[in-house]
C-alpha cells in the first residue's frame, strides 16, 4: 500500500534556514498511531535523503537524462520522478502489501499524475505563489493517489504498457470498408469540412479529438480502444490528454459528466459501518444507508466544494427528480445480469445515444466545470488555456477544443448544430470503420507497437481487468462531491450516491434520469451491455482475451521483464536489437527495438505447434520473427518498414 507522496523543489530554498520552503506537498496515506504526526523536520529530512541520493548518482554519469529513480529499501520502495527540471515527486509504497507491482508501473502512474495535473493547471513552474501551487497539488495529487491506494489494481491495469508512460494508445481500426466509394468522402473529411474549417467555427475550434472507448468487459480487446483521430498536427500534449481520458475511463469505469467535470471521487466507506460491505448489502435497509449517507456528508465537506451555494438551493427544489431515482446500493448486488434490469433503453437498443457530456447546455445551476472544461494544452510548444467540450456517440468520445476567446460555444443554437454535425460524421465512422466484422477465429498473437517519434502506441494486448473481489473489504463509493451531500439535506432525503463496487459490470446510471433536464449524461449505455450479452463470443479479438485474470497479470509481468532487458541494453546507437524469448509456460515473445519503434509480439507456442503450416520459411533468410506463427509473421510483414 502507499505510504506517502511528496512534492518538493530544492530551488525554492536558498539556505539552511528556509529548507521548509522547498516542501510543496507531503501527504501520508497511513494513519499514524497515537495521533503522532510527522514533524516538519522529519519531512525535510526525508526530502534531504531523496535529494542526496539523486545528487550522489549524478557523480557517476552525465547529469542530464536521468529523470526517474527507484530506491529499494527493505520493506519500502521510493519512486521519484523529476519534472520541469526542478520539481521532485516521490511516492513511497510498501510492495509487500501488494501483489507484485514492478516499479515502472508506479513510475508510469506518477508520470501520468503529473501530466494530468498540468492539463488542469498548467506547468508547475508557472506558479509564482507557492502556496497556491500547494493548494492545487493538494486538490489534484492527493485524491489521485488516494484513489489508487483504495483500488491498487489500477496500478497494474495497463500491465507492461506502463513501460511507455509518455505514449498514448491509438485505436487500431482497419480501414476495411473504404472500398465502397459511394460515400465519396470519409468521415474525417466530413468532420474537417463541416466543423473544423467551417465558417461558424472560424479560428475558434482548435482541434477535434475522437476517441473510441469500448468497454473492455466481456473479453473485448483493447485493440480498438484509444484515439481514433486528431486534426492538428502540432498538438504536443496529445499523449497527456489521451492518457487522462483513458485513466478516467479506467478508474471510474464510465465517463459521465461528473467524472469529466472532476467532481467525482472514490472514497473509503466510513469505518464504523461494517455492514456497508458489498456482499452484505442485501440486508441493508434504505434507512440504514441513509444514515450512512448523512455521516458521509461530513466527509464531503472536506473536499473543495465546486458548487456554488445558489445552485444548491435550486437542487433542493428539484425533488421530483431525485425522488424518482432508486437507491442503487439496495439493488446493485442482487442483479445477476443487466438483462433483468428493466431499463428504458432496452426497447430502443438500436438507437445510438449521443449527447454532450460537458457543454454549456448543462443546467444553469450546475457549476462552471459542467459547462466547459478549461484545460492547459500545448500546441507547437506554446501552452495556452483552452475551453474543452466533451461529446459522445455510443462508445465514441469527441473532445472539442476551443480557443478561450471563442464565445460562440455559449450559444445553445450553435451547440445543437454542432451536435447534429458530429452525430452525422461519427455515425459515418461507425458505419465505415467501426463495424464489427464477426471474425471466425481470434488472432493467434498479440502485438504492441510504440512509434518513438509520434509517441503512438498500438496494441492488441488485453489489459489486466479489475480484480473482481478487491482485497480491501471496505466498500468504495463513488461520491459526487458536494452534490450528494446537499441532496441529503433536501426535504425527502433521497440521494443520488452510487455505492459502487468498482467493477465493470456495474455502471452508475443514476444520471440517466437526470440528464434530460440537467444536461448531464453518461457515456456508453446499457443497451451496449445487452448487445454483448446476446453475442458474447463474437468479441474475442486475440487469443489472450479468454485468458484468466491471474494468468494475464503474470504474462504482463513477464513481458515487462523482457522489455526491461531492452531498457538495460547498452547497445550502440546505430544497432537494432531483436530478441525472441521462449518460456516453458508457452509464452513466445518477439521484441524488436530500433531507432524508430519498439515492437512486441506475443503468442502461445503450444498453440502454434498444431496450427503451423507445412510451408517452411525460405532457407538462409530465417529472421527471428519468422519463428513466430505465420499469422504474426504476416502482420509483421504488413506493419513494418521492411
Amino acid at each position: 500500500m502507499l505510504k506517502f507522496i511528496t512534492v518538493f523543489n530544492p530551488s525554492y530554498s536558498r539556505n539552511e534556514e528556509d529548507a521548509d520552503k522547498q516542501l510543496l506537498l507531503f501527504h501520508s496515506f497511513q494513519d499514524l498511531q497515537d495521533g503522532q504526526t510527522l514533524s516538519l523536520n522529519d519531512k525535510i529530512a526525508q526530502l534531504g535523503v531523496i535529494q542526496a541520493m539523486w545528487q550522489f548518482s549524478k557523480t557517476f554519469s552525465e547529469s542530464q537524462g536521468t529523470s526517474e529513480s527507484v530506491v529499494e529499501l527493505d520493506d519500502t520502495v521510493l519512486c521519484t520522478i523529476l519534472v520541469e527540471n526542478s520539481f521532485f515527486i516521490t511516492l513511497s509504497f510498501a510492495p509487500s502489501e501488494l501483489p507484485e507491482v514492478p516499479a515502472n508501473y508506479v513510475l508510469a502512474n506518477l508520470r501520468h499524475c503529473y501530466d494530468f495535473s498540468t492539463l488542469h493547471f498548467g506547468l508547475w513552474s508557472t506558479f509564482t505563489n507557492h502556496t497556491q501551487l500547494t493548494d492545487r497539488l493538494n486538490e489534484f495529487l492527493v485524491p489521485f493517489w488516494a484513489e489508487l491506494n483504495l483500488m491498487p489494481y489500477n496500478l497494474w491495469h495497463k500491465g507492461f504498457l506502463s513501460c511507455w508512460p509518455d505514449c498514448y494508445k491509438v485505436a487500431d481500426i482497419e480501414e476495411g470498408f473504404q472500398d465502397n466509394k459511394e460515400s465519396s468522402t470519409s468521415w474525417e473529411a466530413d468532420l474537417k469540412q463541416q466543423l473544423l474549417i467551417d465558417d461558424s467555427n472560424f479560428l475558434g475550434l482548435q482541434d477535434i479529438l475522437v476517441y473510441h472507448l469500448p468497454k473492455t468487459t466481456s473479453g473485448k480487446s483493447y485493440k480498438k480502444y484509444g484515439l481514433v483521430s486528431s486534426f492538428t498536427p502540432d498538438f504536443d500534449w496529445l499523449p497527456q490528454i489521451s492518457n487522462w481520458i483513458e485513466h478516467l475511463d479506467n478508474v471510474y469505469t464510465v465517463l459521465s459528466s461528473h467524472v469529466l467535470a472532476g467532481t467525482v471521487q472514490y472514497k473509503e466507506a466510513v469505518e464504523e459501518e461494517p455492514m456497508q460491505e458489498p456482499s452484505n448489502n442485501e440486508g441493508l435497509s434504505t434507512s440504514q444507508s441513509m444514515a450512512a449517507q448523512s455521516r458521509k456528508l461530513y466527509n464531503n465537506f472536506m473536499y473543495p466544494l465546486t458548487f456554488a451555494h445558489d445552485a444548491v438551493q435550486e437542487v433542493g427544489n428539484m425533488t421530483g427528480i431525485s425522488s424518482s431515482m432508486s437507491l442503487l446500493s439496495d439493488f446493485m448486488p442482487k442483479m445477476p445480469s443487466w438483462k433483468i434490469w428493466p431499463g428504458p433503453e432496452d426497447n430502443k437498443a438500436k438507437v445510438a445515444r449521443s449527447e454532450f457530456l460537458i457543454s454549456p447546455l448543462a443546467a444553469s445551476f450546475l457549476p462552471e466545470s459542467y459547462k466547459v472544461k478549461k484545460m492547459h494544452l500545448s500546441y507547437g510548444g506554446l501552452i495556452q488555456r483552452f475551453n474543452c467540450l466533451f461529446w459522445f456517440y455510443n462508445e465514441t468520445l469527441v473532445v472539442l477544443i476551443y480557443k478561450e476567446e471563442f464565445e460562440k460555444i455559449w450559444d445553445h443554437e450553435y451547440l445543437h448544430d454542432t451536435h447534429f454535425k458530429l452525430s452525422q460524421s461519427i455515425a459515418k465512422l461507425y458505419s465505415t470503420n467501426l463495424k464489427t466484422i464477426s471474425k471466425i477465429t481470434p488472432d493467434s498473437f498479440c502485438y504492441a507497437v510504440v512509434t518513438k517519434s509520434t509517441r503512438r502506441l498500438r496494441s492488441s494486448f488485453p489489459l489486466n481487468e479489475v480484480v473482481k473481489t478487491p482485497e480491501s473489504t471496505s466498500a468504495l463509493e463513488l461520491v459526487v462531491n458536494g452534490l450528494d451531500g446537499f441532496l441529503t439535506l433536501g426535504p425527502n432525503r433521497k440521494t443520488s450516491v452510487a455505492t459502487l463496487n468498482p467493477s465493470r459490470n456495474q455502471i452508475a446510471f443514476e444520471q440517466e434520469a437526470a440528464k434530460e433536464s440537467w444536461g448531464l449524461s453518461l457515456m456508453g449505455g446499457i443497451f451496449k451491455k445487452t448487445q454483448a450479452d446476446n453475442n458474447p463470443t463474437a468479441q474475442t479479438d486475440t487469443f489472450l482475451d479468454g485468458v484468466p485474470e491471474e494468468k494475464l497479470r503474470f504474462m504482463h509481468l513477464d513481458i515487462n521483464k523482457f522489455i526491461n532487458t531492452l531498457s538495460t541494453s547498452r547497445r550502440a546507437s546505430d544497432l537494432k536489437e531483436e530478441k525472441l524469448i521462449k518460456l516453458n509456460n508457452g509464452v513466445l515473445c518477439f521484441l524488436s527495438e530500433n531507432s524508430e519503434e519498439i515492437i512486441v509480439l506475443v503468442e502461445n507456442w503450444f498453440d502454434k505447434k498444431s496450427s503451423r503450416t507445412k510451408k517452411q520459411p525460405p532457407k538462409g533468410n530465417s529472421a527471428l520473427v519468422q519463428h513466430m506463427g505465420t499469422e504474426a509473421f504476416h502482420w509483421w510483414r504488413k506493419n513494418t518498414r521492411a
Binding site: 535523503v49 529523470s67 524469448i581
Partner: protein, 621 residues
C-alpha cells in the same frame, strides 16, 4: 593412456601438429568445417590484420591510449575521430584472407571521453568499501578527497535508513525509457559496500560482485577479527590494518570484474579443465592413495581438501571428505590468490598460508599448502619444449603463473610437514605416471569450436548446474585471474585510473591490448545475453527459457563515411534446470534454425563428454 580414435577433442596428435604449423593453423586443419567456423582462438592477429596503416582503426580504449600519446591532436579532431570510430567499429576487424570474420563486432555504446557533461567520476563501474562509521576503506577509482566526500554521502544515506529501521538495497536511475545506472548497497556491518554500474549488469550481478569483495576482506581478516577490530573502536580505520597487497588485490579483483573476462563471477561457477576421464581418474587415485595412506589416515583431519588447479583457475581434480564441498566463492578466492598474489611463486617454493574461507567458516582460518607443478618436473619431451616456444611472447612471470598448482587444505595449524610430505608424494606420483604432462597439455589446449560439430558458433559457455562448473572453448592468452595488473598506485586506498600510465612498450603490447578488448567485448556480450533469461533479482524468467538476441545495423549506413563490416550478430541463451548455455554466433550467421541446431549439438556434445568436461565427484575419502 590409450588413444581411442573417437576421442577427438583433446587431441594429443593434433596438438603438436597445430604447433608445427605455426601461428596460422588454418591450412593444417583436418576439418572441413574449420574454414567457416574457426573461432578467434587460433588465429594469429598480427598476420591476419594490418595495424599500421590505420591510425585510429581500433577500439576506444586503445584509441584513448593512442590519443594520449599524441598530445598535439586537437580536441575537435579527436572528437571527430571518435565519431568515426563508432561509425566503423569493425573496420579494424575486417579480416584479410579469411572468408569469415573471426572477431565479434563491438555491440555496445562507447562513452565519449571528451564529453563535458560527465560527472567527476565518469567511469562506468565503481566499487566503494567503507566502514559502517563512514571511514573509507577502498575505492576503485577517484582521488582521495573526492572519494572521502562520496563515502560521507553513502554513510549518511545508509544511516538515515538504518535509523528508520530499514536498509537501502539499490537505486535504479533511468531516463528516456532506458536504465542509466544501478547502485547496489550491501550492509555487512561493520562494513558497507557499494557498487555503481552504468553497464547492462543486473542488480543481482552487482550484489554478487560486492559479495565477492566482501569475501576477500573476510578471507584475509576473518569475520571474527573484523568484528573485534570494530567493536573496540567504531571509527577504526581499517586502511591502517590492511596491507598494500590487500589493496592491490582488491584493485585487481575490481579490475578483473570490471574489465576482464571472468565468467566465474557471472555464472557463479568454476571453470573446469577438460581432461580424459581416465586421466582425471588417475590423478584422483594418486591423490587419494597418499591421503589414505595408513600413517596419515590415523590422524584424521590432517588433510581436509585437496585440489589441483590448472592456470586460469581451471579446476582439475578435487579431493574431499564425503558429504562436504567447498563453496564456489571460496574456491574463486583461493584461485585468485594463487594466480594473482602468489603468481611469482617459484617452482621450488612451497607456501603455507592461513586463509579464511568465508562461506566455509567465516570466523576461522584454514591452512593451505600450495605448491606449483611446473612441467619441467617431468622428463621433458621435445613436444613440450615446442609447446613452450609456442608462446614466446609470454615472459617468465606469466610462465610461472601459468603452471598448475597443488593445494592441500588442513584445519591444523602445525601440520605443514605432514602436508608437505603428502604433497611431495602426490607430486612424485603424478610425475611418475606422467600425469603432470597431461594436465599441462590439457590446460594449454583445451578444446576449440572445431571439435564440436556446431555450425556458425563463435564461442560458447556451457554451465552444468549439477556440478556448478562451466566449460568453454579455448581462448588465446586467457588468464582469468591475471589480466594485466598495473603497479602504479599512489593513494592509499584508491587505484589510479590508467590515463597517465605510460604505454608499456612491448612489441606485442598492441596485440595484447587488442586481445584484451576482444575478451572484454565477449564478456559484455555474455553478460547481456544472460540478462535475457534472468531477471534483475537473479531468478530465471521461467523454469526453462530459450532466448535469441540479434543485433544488426539499423537503417542505412552513414553517407560519405567509410563503414566496416555490417553488424549482424545472433546470440542465444538457453536456461534449463540442468544446464545453462550461452552462445555467440559468428557475425553474419543469422539463420536461427541452424543456430538452434548448433546449440543442440553443443548441449549433446557437452552431455556426452560430461565425464571429461567436469569434475563429477572428485576423490572422496
Amino acid at each position: 593412456m590409450v588413444e581411442t580414435p573417437n576421442e577427438n577433442y583433446v587431441d594429443k596428435l593434433r596438438a603438436p601438429e597445430r604447433l608445427s604449423s605455426g601461428s596460422n593453423s588454418h591450412q593444417s586443419s583436418p576439418f572441413i568445417i574449420r574454414a567457416t567456423t574457426d573461432p578467434t582462438t587460433s588465429v594469429n592477429l598480427t598476420s591476419s590484420f594490418s595495424s599500421a596503416s590505420r591510425p585510429f582503426a581500433d577500439d576506444a580504449s586503445v584509441y584513448m591510449d593512442l590519443a594520449s600519446e599524441q598530445q598535439s591532436v586537437s580536441t575537435s579532431r579527436r572528437h571527430l575521430e571518435h565519431q568515426l570510430l563508432q561509425s566503423m567499429r569493425s573496420l579494424d576487424l575486417s579480416p584479410r584472407g579469411h572468408a569469415v570474420s573471426n572477431e565479434i563486432p563491438s555491440l555496445f555504446e562507447t562513452r565519449d571521453p571528451d564529453n563535458e557533461s560527465q560527472g567527476p567520476l565518469p567511469q562506468e563501474k565503481q566499487f566503494f568499501i567503507l566502514s559502517s562509521a563512514g571511514k573509507p576503506i577502498f575505492s576503485m577509482h577517484g582521488k582521495d578527497e573526492l572519494v572521502m566526500g562520496l563515502m560521507g554521502i553513502i554513510h549518511t544515506v545508509a544511516n538515515y535508513f538504518k535509523v528508520h529501521d530499514t536498509k537501502i538495497h539499490s537505486i535504479t536511475n533511468s531516463g528516456g525509457g532506458c536504465i542509466k545506472q544501478n547502485l547496489v548497497f550491501i550492509d555487512k556491518n561493520p562494513i558497507l559496500l557499494m557498487a555503481v554500474s552504468s553497464r547492462e549488469e543486473s542488480l543481482n550481478d552487482l550484489s554478487q560482485q560486492l559479495d565477492f569483495l566482501y569475501s576477500y576482506l573476510i578471507c584475509t581478516l576473518s569475520r571474527r577479527q573484523l568484528t573485534r577490530l570494530f567493536t573496540k573502536r567504531e571509527n577504526f580505520d581499517l586502511r591502517h590494518f590492511l596491507t598494500n597487497t590487500d589493496f592491490e588485490n582488491l584493485t585487481h579483483i575490481c579490475e578483473s570484474i570490471a574489465n576482464g573476462f571472468n565468467p566465474d563471477f557471472l555464472l557463479g561457477a568454476l571453470r573446469c579443465l577438460t581432461m580424459r576421464k581416465s586421466t582425471r581418474q588417475a590423478v584422483h587415485t594418486a591423490m587419494l592413495t597418499h591421503v589414505q595412506h595408513a600413517e596419515v589416515a590415523s590422524e584424521r583431519g590432517t588433510v581436509l581438501y585437496g585440489l589441483i588447479v590448472a592456470p586460469g583457475g581451471q579446476l582439475c581434480a578435487v579431493l574431499r571428505p564425503r558429504g562436504h564441498t567447498l563453496h564456489t566463492t571460496d574456491l574463486h578466492l583461493l584461485f585468485s590468490l594463487i594466480f594473482n598474489q602468489y603468481q611469482g611463486l617459484q617452482d621450488d617454493q612451497e607456501l603455507w598460508l592461513p586463509i579464511c574461507f568465508p562461506k566455509f567458516n567465516s570466523s576461522g582460518f584454514l591452512h593451505c599448502f600450495i605448491r606449483r607443478l611446473p612441467p619441467h618436473l617431468t622428463r621433458t619431451s621435445p613436444d613440450l619444449t615446442a609447446a613452450g616456444s609456442e608462446t614466446p611472447l609470454e615472459d617468465n612471470r606469466e610462465v610461472s603463473s601459468s603452471t598448475p598448482a597443488l593445494v592441500l587444505i588442513s584445519a591444523q595449524k602445525e601440520s605443514f610437514f605432514e602436508l608437505k610430505k603428502i604433497g611431495q608424494q602426490i607430486v612424485d606420483d603424478l610425475v611418475s605416471k606422467s600425469l603432470l604432462e597431461q594436465i599441462e597439455r590439457a590446460s594449454k589446449f583445451g578444446f576449440t569450436m572445431a571439435d564440436i560439430p556446431a555450425k556458425f558458433v563463435h564461442h560458447f559457455i556451457y554451465k552444468s548446474k549439477k556440478h556448478v562448473q562451466y566449460v568453454m572453448p579455448r581462448l588465446e592468452e586467457l588468464d582469468l585471474y591475471n589480466n594485466d595488473p598495473y603497479d602504479d598506485r599512489t593513494s592509499t586506498f584508491t587505484a589510479n585510473y590508467r590515463d597517465d600510465q605510460g604505454e608499456y612498450e612491448r612489441p606485442d603490447s598492441h596485440k595484447r591490448e587488442k586481445h584484451k578488448v576482444y575478451l572484454y567485448k565477449l564478456m559484455r556480450t555474455y553478460t547481456h545475453i544472460r540478462n535475457n533469461v534472468i531477471d534483475q533479482n537473479g531468478a530465471p524468467l521461467n523454469r526453462s527459457v530459450l532466448s535469441f538476441i540479434q543485433w544488426s545495423s539499423d537503417g542505412l549506413p552513414m553517407n560519405g563515411l567509410p563503414h566496416g563490416e555490417v553488424v549482424d550478430v545472433l546470440c542465444l541463451a538457453w536456461l534449463t534446470p540442468t544446464f545453462e548455455l550461452f552462445l555467440i554466433c559468428n557475425n553474419g550467421a543469422s539463420d536461427r534454425n541452424a543456430v538452434l541446431r548448433s546449440a543442440k549439438a553443443i548441449v549433446d556434445w557437452c552431455r556426452r563428454n560430461e565425464d571429461r568436461l567436469f569434475v563429477k565427484n572428485g576423490a572422496i575419502f
